[in-house]
C-alpha cells in the first residue's frame, strides 16, 4: 500500500466523471449535471422496449464481466442489477459477503484486489458504511467502474434514478412538481439521493415529512421543506414517496410504536386526499404494509410501486452501458 492512498482525493461527485464529462463511476447523485441525469433517463427509455420483447437481450456488454459485490443482504437490488447485466449480455458474478460492523478495511481492500485480479470491468457495491463505494472507487484499477448500490445512509443513486424515471414517465416536467418524501429520512440513503436528484432536475418543491427523530440535523440544507405534520405536508403534492421504516426502529428511542407511527405518518386513502387528485404513490420497497402504507394504497390505482421495480432494470441497463461506453 503506498502513501498516496491515504491522501485526500477529489470529492465523490468529482471523481465520477471522465475528463470529457462521461460517466465513469456512479457513486452519488450529488454534484452530477442535469444533462447527465436526463441522458440516463433517455437511455433507459430506449431499454424499456427491450424488456417487452420475447428475447430480452442486447449484446452491448458482451465479453464484459460485472461483479455484484454485496456486503449487506439484498434481494431486489441485487436481482435487478443481475437481470440488467444479463440483458446486456454481460457475465455476472455474485459475491455476497456477510459482514459485521467491525469489518476492517484490509479485508475489504484484499477482497477487492482478489476480485480485480480476475479481470472484472465493473463492481456493483453495497456496503453498510457510508463512503464505501467512494473508497472502493478510489482504489480500483483505472479500467474498472464502480456503481454504488447503497452505502450506509449516504447514497443509493440507481434507486433515485429509477424513481426519477418513474416520475418522468408519469408527470413529465419536474419544474412544476411538488414531491413529498415521507418517513425515516435519517437512515435513508434512498431519500438523500432522491433529494439531490429532484433538486438537480429543478423540481418546484421537495418536501420531507417525518417526526424530528427521523430527520437528520440541518436536513433543510439539502434543499427541502420540512413538515412534521403529514396532512400539511401532503397538501397539493404531485408525488408521494414513502420510505421504508426498519423494524428495529418501530419501537425504540426514535418512535414509541408502529401503531402510533401509522396513526401519524401512515399513508391511507383518506390521507391521500390532501394530495393532488392525480398524485402518484411510490415506495422503494419492500413496503411494511400497515406501518408506513396501507395495503389498499400500496395496491391501489395511484400506486406505481411495481412499475418502479421494472423501471429499475431499464435504469440499471442504461447506467451500465453508459459507464462502459457502450451506450451511444
Amino acid at each position: 500500500m503506498t502513501e498516496q492512498h491515504l491522501q485526500a482525493g477529489p470529492l465523490p461527485s468529482g471523481m465520477q466523471l471522465h475528463d470529457d464529462g462521461r460517466l465513469r463511476h456512479l457513486l452519488t447523485i450529488e454534484g452530477l449535471p442535469r444533462e447527465l441525469l436526463v441522458e440516463i433517463m433517455d437511455t433507459a427509455e430506449s431499454f424499456v422496449s427491450v424488456q417487452a420483447k420475447t428475447v430480452k437481450k442486447v449484446p452491448l456488454l458482451r465479453g464484459k464481466t460485472i461483479v455484484n459485490l454485496f456486503f449487506e443482504p439484498s434481494t431486489r437490488t441485487r436481482t435487478t442489477f443481475e437481470l440488467a447485466a444479463k440483458r446486456l449480455s454481460a457475465d455476472v458474478l455474485n459475491i455476497n459477503i456477510a459482514t459485521s460492523a467491525t469489518t476492517k478495511g484490509e479485508s475489504l481492500l484484499d477482497t477487492l484486489r482478489n476480485i480485480e485480479a480476475m479481470f472484472c470491468d465493473m463492481f456493483i457495491v453495497r456496503h453498510a458504511d457510508s463512503g464505501a463505494a467512494h473508497f472502493i472507487a478510489r482504489h480500483v484499477a483505472p479500467h474498472v467502474s464502480v456503481l454504488n448500490a447503497g452505502d450506509g445512509s449516504h447514497a443509493h443513486p440507481t434507486q433515485a434514478m429509477l424513481d426519477m424515471f418513474t416520475i418522468r414517465r408519469h408527470k413529465g416536467d419536474f419544474t412544476r412538481l411538488k414531491v413529498a418524501i415521507v418517513g425515516d429520512v435519517l437512515h435513508s440513503r434512498v431519500a438523500r439521493s432522491q433529494i439531490h436528484a429532484l433538486n438537480i432536475l429543478n423540481t418546484a418543491e421537495v418536501r420531507v415529512i417525518a417526526p424530528r427523530t427521523l430527520l437528520p440535523a440541518d436536513v433543510e440544507k439539502l434543499g427541502v421543506h420540512v413538515f412534521n405534520d403529514m396532512d400539511e405536508g401532503l397538501h397539493d403534492v404531485d408525488v408521494v414517496i414513502m420510505l421504508r421504516l426498519q423494524k428495529e426502529r418501530m419501537q425504540s428511542a426514535l418512535l414509541p410504536s408502529a401503531h402510533e407511527y401509522f396513526q401519524l405518518y401512515g399513508l391511507t386513502n383518506e390521507r391521500l386526499k390532501a394530495a393532488r387528485e392525480d398524485a402518484i404513490v411510490m415506495h422503494p420497497g419492500p413496503a411494511n404494509r400497515g406501518v408506513e402504507i396501507a395495503s389498499d394504497v400500496a395496491d391501489g390505482s395511484r400506486s406505481v410501486i411495481l412499475e418502479q421495480v421494472s423501471n429499475g432494470i431499464a435504469i440499471r441497463m442504461a447506467i451500465m452501458s453508459m459507464v462502459t461506453g457502450a451506450a451511444q
Binding site: L6, P12, H127, S130
Partner: protein, 425 residues
C-alpha cells in the same frame, strides 16, 4: 560538558524572556543567560544567530502505543519523532495493553523511555483498574512509581465510581484527567452532527455528547474539589462552560488538540479518513470558540493528541477507520501558525506548548529558568517548508497536514544538556 549557545533569540514565556542573549549550559543544567559565568570555558559553542531558543516543548497528551500496540508505534519511535519536533517532555496515557494501572507498567514505560533516551516521559496512570470504571487503582503506588496524575479519559465510568475516584485521587495529591464524552450520546457516531454528516450519511455525534459530559464533570469537580483537567475539547459551548467554571474558582484546566484549532467538519467532506478524529471536527463557529479559549487561557494547553496508526487503520470506508491523527510532528508548526494567523501572540503560542502544559502536569519543565534541566530546542524561524507525510519519523504517517506549508524548523533539540536531535546528523 559545557555548552554555550551564542546570540540566540531566547523566547521563554515562563520567565517573560524575549530577547537575544547567550545561554550557558553546564552538564545537564542551564547555568546562566546573558552573562558568561566566571571561569566558564565551553566544550562546544553553538552559533544561534538568527535562530530562536525555545524551552523544550511539553506535550500533554500522546499515545506512544507501547506496551501492546507496537504495530502502531513504540516508545522509541515516537519519542524520537518528538525530539525531532522540539518536544522534550511527553505525558502519555494509560490506555495501553496492558493498561498502566500498577507500578509494573509504570516501570516498564519509564525504562523503555530511558533506554530510548529521546524524551522525558511522564505517565498519567489509570484512575480505575483496567480503566474499567469499577475499582479504584492503587493511586498511591502509582504516584510512588512516578505517575504525575491519574485519568479515566473518555472511557466509560459511572458517576458514583468517578466521584469516589476523584476524591481518592485528590487525597493523594493527584490531578485527574478526564475527556468529556457522553458515550450514550456518542453512540456509534463518527462525525459532527450537522450539515456535513447529514449529507454524507455518517452516524452523527451531537454537540451534547461533549457538553452534557462537561456539565456532569464540572458538577463532580465542584462536589469533590478534586483538581481536574479536561482533555481535548471540541465545542465552543464546552469552552464557555469551562471558562465560567474557572471564573467561579473551580480547580479545572483544559486543553485542545492542535488539529482542532485548524480543521472543521468541512475537511471530512470527501470522506477523508485522515480527518476521522474523536471528538469529531466540528463547525467553524466551534473552531473560532476554541481559538478564543486558547487566547484567553481557558484552554491553557495545546497538545498533539498524538495517535499513530498503521496504514491499514485508515484504509477503509470512513466509519470503519480508526480515529486519530499522528500529531507530534505538527504540534510546534501548528502552534506557531496560530501566532502567524494573529490568533495568539508568539509568546502565548509557545506558552501553550511549554509552560502551560508543564503547569497542569505539575512538573518543572517547559521553561528556561536558570538552574533547571537544559531541555530546549534551537529553531530556525526563517526556513519555510512543506509538510511531507512520507518524511515523518513517527511510525504512524496518518496526518491530514501533508502538503501544508509551515514556517520555521527545529534545528537541534537538547534534553538535559544532551543533543537528542540534530538536523545535520
Amino acid at each position: 560538558m559545557k555548552i554555550s549557545i551564542r546570540n540566540g533569540h531566547i523566547i521563554d514565556p515562563a520567565n517573560d524572556l524575549d530577547q537575544v542573549a547567550d545561554l550557558f549550559i553546564e552538564d545537564d543544567k542551564i547555568v546562566s543567560i546573558g552573562t558568561q559565568p566566571d571561569g566558564f570555558s565551553d566544550d562546544e559553542t553553538i552559533d544561534a544567530s538568527g535562530h530562536w531558543i525555545l524551552p523544550g516543548l511539553v506535550d500533554l497528551g500522546a499515545r506512544l502505543r507501547e506496551p501492546g500496540q507496537e504495530h502502531k508505534g513504540s516508545i522509541a519511535s515516537e519519542s524520537r519523532a518528538a525530539a525531532a519536533s522540539g518536544i522534550t517532555h511527553i505525558a502519555c496515557l494509560p490506555d495501553t495493553d496492558p493498561v498502566i494501572d500498577s507500578p509494573a507498567e509504570v516501570d516498564f514505560v519509564l525504562q523503555q523511555a530511558e533506554e530510548a533516551g529521546y524524551c522525558q516521559i511522564s505517565i498519567i496512570g489509570a484512575l480505575t483498574l483496567e480503566l474499567e470504571g469499577r475499582t479504584l487503582s492503587e493511586m498511591a503506588a502509582l504516584r510512588q512509581a512516578g505517575c504525575i496524575g491519574v485519568g479515566q479519559f473518555n472511557i466509560p465510568c459511572d458517576y458514583s465510581v468517578l466521584r469516589h475516584s476523584m476524591e481518592y485521587a485528590a487525597s493523594q495529591g493527584l490531578t485527574v484527567y478526564l475527556q468529556p464524552q457522553d458515550n450514550s450520546l456518542l453512540s456509534n457516531g463518527c462525525a459532527h452532527e450537522g450539515a456535513i454528516a447529514t449529507r454524507l450519511g455518517l452516524p452523527p455525534i451531537p454537540e451534547a455528547a461533549e457538553t452534557a459530559s462537561i456539565g456532569a464533570l464540572l458538577a463532580l469537580i465542584e462536589q469533590t474539589g478534586a483538581r481536574s483537567h479536561l482533555c481535548r475539547l471540541s465545542t465552543a459551548r464546552g469552552v464557555n462552560m469551562v471558562r465560567q467554571a474557572r471564573a467561579e474558582g473551580l480547580p479545572v484546566t483544559a486543553d485542545l488538540s492542535a488539529h482542532q484549532a485548524f480543521l472543521t467538519e468541512m475537511d471530512i467532506s470527501d470522506f477523508n479518513s485522515l480527518c476521522h478524529v474523536l471528538p469529531p471536527l466540528r463547525t467553524e463557529r466551534d473552531r473560532d470558540g476554541l481559538r478564543q479559549g486558547l487566547f484567553d487561557g481557558t484552554l491553557q494547553v495545546l497538545c498533539s493528541d498524538h495517535q499513530p496508526h498503521e496504514l491499514d487503520a485508515k484504509l477503509a470506508p470512513f466509519p470503519s477507520t480508526e480515529p486519530g491523527i499522528s500529531g507530534l510532528e505538527t504540534l510546534l508548526p501548528l502552534a506557531l501558525r496560530l501566532s502567524e494567523e494573529g490568533v495568539l501572540s508568539r509568546s502565548q503560542a509557545i506558552a501553550r506548548v511549554t509552560s502551560g502544559p508543564a503547569e497542569v502536569l505539575g512538573i518543572d519543565a517547559g521553561n528556561l529558568t536558570i538552574g533547571t534541566s537544559a531541555d530546549l530546542c534551537i529553531f530556525d524561524p526563517g526556513h519555510s517548508w512543506e509538510f511531507d507525510t512520507e518524511a515523518m519519523l513517527s511510525a504512524g504517517t496518518n496526518s491530514p497536514f501533508g502538503g501544508w506549508s509551515f514556517n520555521g524548523q527545529v534545528l537541534r533539540t537538547l534534553l538535559a544538556g544532551d543533543t537528542v536531535y540534530d538536523i545535520k546528523l
